[in-house]
């Protein structure tokens, strides 16, 4: 059997994201203890753990919002070299603005609530240097459509939208520049179950259509299981187990993972 050029393939030997021995302390609290992770192009890595396990800190470090005490972080992109934790503030900002998208749990962190929804998406394009109004409008509309946001409301400010709609605006903003890496920090927390399902469907469709590399953090095992190819379980700042999603959920090895998987209300 031979592979033809038009057959999509996940076969690759080089990870897009490589983080090694990332540690971070906030005073006496050790938030991350030597966390390492690799994510391959088109793959979804789910990070799961209890509150305070360090998963959001790790995600913020991947978004270059935190500078760890030790460790390295590289992205295998043509114009991105070296340990990204060593970049200066300007280089970090430009990298995050153009190559990394993020959806926060709290939309207030990711959106300008009094600006229009399309303006929020346009902001990302403006940072990347787009200065044509018609192009901004068109690209914002397309990104909002892709995140299944009703475009007749594209000029409504997020402050007037529901939580689920705000998350869609965040998602549109994150994907507007077709980032190499999409980070999702508890994207469905606080949404009711039906809206959660819609947002998850959108994420899954986007991932399948665009093969976006994603890292998703959640304490909801259902969300992680729905979206992830591989899973990393964190506890007290450490990775206690990682592997393929089905493998981790069906045959958890670590006692903490077993406790998580079998936990029921």
């Amino acid at each position: 059997m031979s592979l033809t050029m038009d057959e999509p393939t996940l076969v690759t030997t080089r990870p897009l994201l490589t983080a090694r021995d990332v540690s971070k302390a906030y005073g006496p609290v050790q938030a991350l203890r030597g966390v390492s992770a690799t994510v391959y192009p088109g793959e979804v890595l789910g990070i799961v753990g209890e509150s305070g396990s360090g998963k959001s800190t790790f995600l913020r470090a991947l978004n270059l919002e935190e500078t760890p005490d030790t460790g390295s972080y590289t992205l295998d992109l043509p114009d991105v070299q070296g340990n990204l934790f060593d970049l200066d503030r300007y280089a970090r900002r430009m990298l995050c603005a153009t190559r990394i998208g993020i959806v926060y749990q709290n939309p207030h962190l990711g959106l300008l609530m009094s600006h229009s929804s399309s303006g929020n998406v346009a902001e990302r394009l403006l940072v990347a240097g787009e200065r044509r109004f018609a192009v901004l409008r068109d690209k914002a509309q397309r990104a909002l459509e892709a995140s299944e946001f009703p475009t007749e409301r594209m000029d409504a400010p997020p402050a007037e939208l529901s939580g689920g709609m705000q998350q869609r605006v965040q998602l549109a903003k994150a994907i507007a520049l077709e980032p190499a890496l999409l980070l999702l920090d508890e994207p469905t927390t606080g949404l009711d179950v039906s809206v959660q399902a819609l947002v998850l469907d959108t994420l899954k469709r986007l991932q399948q259509e665009r093969r976006i590399t994603m890292v998703i953090v959640s304490h909801d095992l259902g969300v992680i299981r729905t979206l992830s190819d591989r899973v990393m379980v964190m506890r007290r700042g450490e990775v206690v187990e990682q592997g393929l999603a089905d493998q981790v959920f069906q045959d958890p090895q670590h006692a903490y993972t077993q406790q998580l998987v079998h936990a029921k209300l």
Binding site: S116, G119, E123, L126, F133
Partner: protein, 304 residues
């Protein structure tokens, strides 16, 4: 040996209310601001006998530049005869012995609140603009520490976002005054709250413009022959108001920028935005030999 033999006789060395060290500091900051056009330079804004917000920033710059031979003109929203303009003009003359004028062509130093004179200024003239808020990023970034970082990174995307929002909401750019402008291709400044039509007058102008905010303790400068480019989208051009067909109700001047004065019956009348130009027009019509210089805007077109 007497005390008199050891000291110099008194002579009027210091002009303009401020002490020599205060003026020296402001001069240094002005030179720094000239070297980095559009960059806000902090200075130790002194107390002057005027309330903050009434032009203390401009007054300190004028007091620093003035000497007994400087001919001064003071403008308040285009008018030379308002109480504020008259008071500042009188104060400057009193503390320096400098002669005053209402004629923009005769003046060496023009302190102005929110207007650039209609007549084109020369290389030897200095325009001092009073600025209430020198930070263009304040509406989009209330945290001034982050705003400073944004200036350092030339991170002005959110300024365009403001324009985007105005077009989305109103169909056009609604920024009528204080239009954010890029100076020398590097720093975005808020050019005092001068009207939108006055911004092109700063672009590659022959005169030096110093913008000073006394309350905010910052000044910035547009040196002569410096690019001042209003922020625009590539496909939405910058437009000034079209006043080419309007006539000044008081002077009959036509083809200049006008202030709109709403009337009780809902209509509007217009007056030329530079009161001295109106006065000159009237004097010329009455037969006086009055020199009216070239103007920035004539018959609906920018000339310079």
């Amino acid at each position: 040996m007497t005390l008199q033999s050891l000291t110099r006789a008194w002579e009027p060395m210091s002009y303009g209310f401020l002490d020599a060290s205060a003026k020296r500091e402001i001069r240094r900051k002005m030179l720094k601001a000239i070297a980095v056009p559009g960059c806000q330079v902090p200075y130790a804004s002194r107390e002057v006998p005027m309330a903050r917000g009434w032009g203390t920033g401009g007054l300190q710059i004028s007091c620093t530049l003035i000497n007994p031979r400087t001919r001064i003109k003071v403008i308040d929203q285009g008018a030379d005869d308002s109480v504020n303009a008259a008071s500042i003009r009188k104060f400057l003359a009193r503390v320096s012995g400098a002669p005053t004028t209402n004629d923009a062509l005769e003046a060496d130093l023009i302190q102005s609140r929110h207007r650039v004179p209609e007549e084109v200024l020369r290389e030897d003239q200095v325009l001092v603009l009073q600025v209430p808020n020198p930070e263009p990023l304040r509406p989009v970034q209330p945290n001034m520490s982050i705003a400073r970082q944004m200036h350092a990174d030339a991170d002005y995307g959110r300024m365009w976002l403001q324009l985007y929002e105005q077009i989305v909401r109103s169909g056009r750019v609604m920024q009528g005054a204080s239009y954010p402008s890029l100076v020398n291709g590097r720093f975005v400044m808020t050019p005092s709250p001068i009207p939108r039509w006055d911004v092109p007058k700063l672009h590659m102008a022959r005169h030096l413009t110093i913008l000073s905010a006394g309350r905010e303790k910052r000044l910035h400068v547009v040196p002569p022959f410096t690019r001042v480019e209003p922020l625009v989208f590539d496909d939405v051009p910058y437009r000034v108001e079209d006043h080419g067909g309007l006539t000044c109700q008081r002077s009959g001047a036509r083809g200049y920028f006008m202030n709109e004065i709403p009337q009780d019956d809902g209509s509007s009348i217009h007056e030329v935005s530079d009161s001295d130009l109106g006065v000159k027009t009237i004097r010329r019509r009455e037969g006086e030999a009055v020199a009216i210089g070239a103007t920035w805007y004539e018959n609906g077109e920018m000339t310079s």
